[in-house]
Amino acid sequence: MNYVLDVRDLRMRYGRTDVLRGVSFTARRGEVLTLLGPNGAGKTTTIEILEGFRMRSAGGVSVLGTDPAHGGEAWRARTGVVLQSWRDHAKWRVHELLAHLGRYYLPYRRPWDVDDLLETVGLTEHAHKRVRNLSGGQRRRLDVAIGIVGRPELLFLDEPTAGFDPEARRDFHDVVHRLTDRDETTILLTTHDLDEAERLADRILILAGGTIIADGSADELSRAMSGQSEVRWSRDGQRFVHPADDATAFVRELFRQYGGSIEDLEVRRASLEDTYMALVRQAEHGGPPRLTAVAA
């Protein structure tokens, strides 16, 4: 199996501090991976090593079949990068900048048509504005546009939606779905927004204490972490909330006892947020065994 990303026992040490202590994961073509984790967990370090901007201390890394520490220009042309914060090219106009940056990809493949790209990220009406006059959200859309202008096979997104309003966030999610559905772009993104992770990711990796403590789909993680669900109902105008290990059996029993007087029934599986919090808390209080939900 040829993986787009193949990371084995990746280690990074700054001075005497181990930031990454054995990170391993893989990604297949067209997969969307989300890297979650508390601040300082090593998300940005990991992504920068994969982008080829940072030299690792140890471990094996293959990105599109190449070690990013020795990736040449042709390899670079197959990747797209959206880093956390940009203030660059303030004097440039949006359309002009995208047209210029797209030209670097011409020897490798046809870049996005600038007008189509502006339409896709929702910047058409700002095409001739100077970059410094864009709002925070518009600037971020431009960053995403620059990241994909060369039609990358692999896209790195470091907190792409920070500062987005809900509408911009939804637009961005549409862009991501378009990229993965139509062009089979592989995406590695970091975010603090668990809802976003759940919505976008085929697979979620949780990074804490320098290692991956969970790897699986949102659903798999919740199942594997806690089978517990929360059951809410009301009876005779009174509301009840009860945790249940086996929600189905619990509800069956509930109806057997009270039948038609049960109203407003609601069964809620542990949310990704609950799972995430529990996992990170466990990891911070002594290492639990790595939790790997086996993908189907």
Binding site: F53, E73, W86, Y104, P107
Partner: protein, 263 residues
């Protein structure tokens, strides 16, 4: 097309866009105008003073020497400043994230700053042609000398500026100290006054740096031949000018930031 060649072309077009932006950004234009205005005021002030031992205008000599100074101001300081600022704001990292982006970035910078130098030289020369007497701008030889001194000057200063720009840690520490250093250097490089009136030790120090040779080269191009009499060895020393500027160019190009991605 060869990717590096394509990127080089893209870099040149990048330089043209950047130059246009510089010339249409009020803050940048004001900075350029103040710098140029200051020099021109100093020249006008000394227009009727004579270079010691001659009957030649000190102002005219200064005007010609300032052409050389301009090359260093823009080639080293503006270039260095831009690199420091654009490393801070992420432009350099952006260039690294794009195939052959660093090549295009650096070439663009060279084209942009060269454009600014050409602009400053043209304005200074135009001022000189109208307000000053004694400029030897009638012969093709003058322009030929000016051309090779200019080209060698760009090669000696731009890579040096890029190197200094990549050494300075943050934006705040770059422009000010470099400008102060240059002001001190200008004082011992014969830009405002003939170097032969300085203590020999200072003369030697001045002659290590490209600034002295750029001023000398410009004077050799645009002043009457007789004015060589106030120079070291009573000569324009073209061979030495060529050698020293070439040495700086080679050193700068050897050290210039290449394609190193990992910082």
């Amino acid at each position: 097309m060869n990717p590096a060649l394509a990127a080089a072309r893209t870099g040149v077009s990048r330089g043209r866009i950047e130059f246009k932006q510089t010339m249409t950004t009020p803050g940048d234009v004001i900075a350029i105008t103040i710098l140029m205005g200051g020099f021109i005021a100093a020249m006008i002030w000394t227009r009727h003073t004579h270079v010691p031992g001659t009957h030649f205008s000190l102002g005219t000599t200064m005007l010609v020497s300032v052409l050389g100074l301009n090359i260093v101001v823009y080639g080293v300081i503006t270039m260095g400043d831009l690199l420091v600022a654009e490393r801070e704001d992420g432009t350099l990292l952006r260039a690294k994230a794009i195939p052959n982006g660093m090549l295009g970035y650096l070439l663009g910078k060279v084209v942009n700053v060269s454009g600014q130098i050409a602009f400053a030289l043209a304005i200074t020369l135009l001022t000189g042609a109208f307000l000053f007497t004694g400029l030897a701008i009638g012969s093709p030889g003058s322009w030929l000398t000016l051309a090779w001194v200019l080209v060698l000057g760009l090669l000696a200063t731009l890579p040096l500026g890029a190197v200094l720009g990549s050494l300075f840690p943050s934006q705040r520490s770059a422009g000010g100290p470099m400008l102060l250093l240059l002001a001190g250097l200008a004082a011992i490089s014969g830009i405002f006054y003939p170097i032969t009136h300085l203590p020999v030790v200072l003369q030697w120090i001045g002659q290590v740096f490209p600034l002295y040779w750029l001023g000398l080269g410009m004077r050799s191009a645009l002043l009457p031949n007789a004015m060589a009499v106030v120079e070291v060895g009573h000569s324009w020393r073209h061979l030495a000018t060529f050698a020293v500027l070439s040495a700086w160019a080679v050193a700068g190009l050897a050290l210039a930031p290449g394609d190193e991605r990992q910082g």
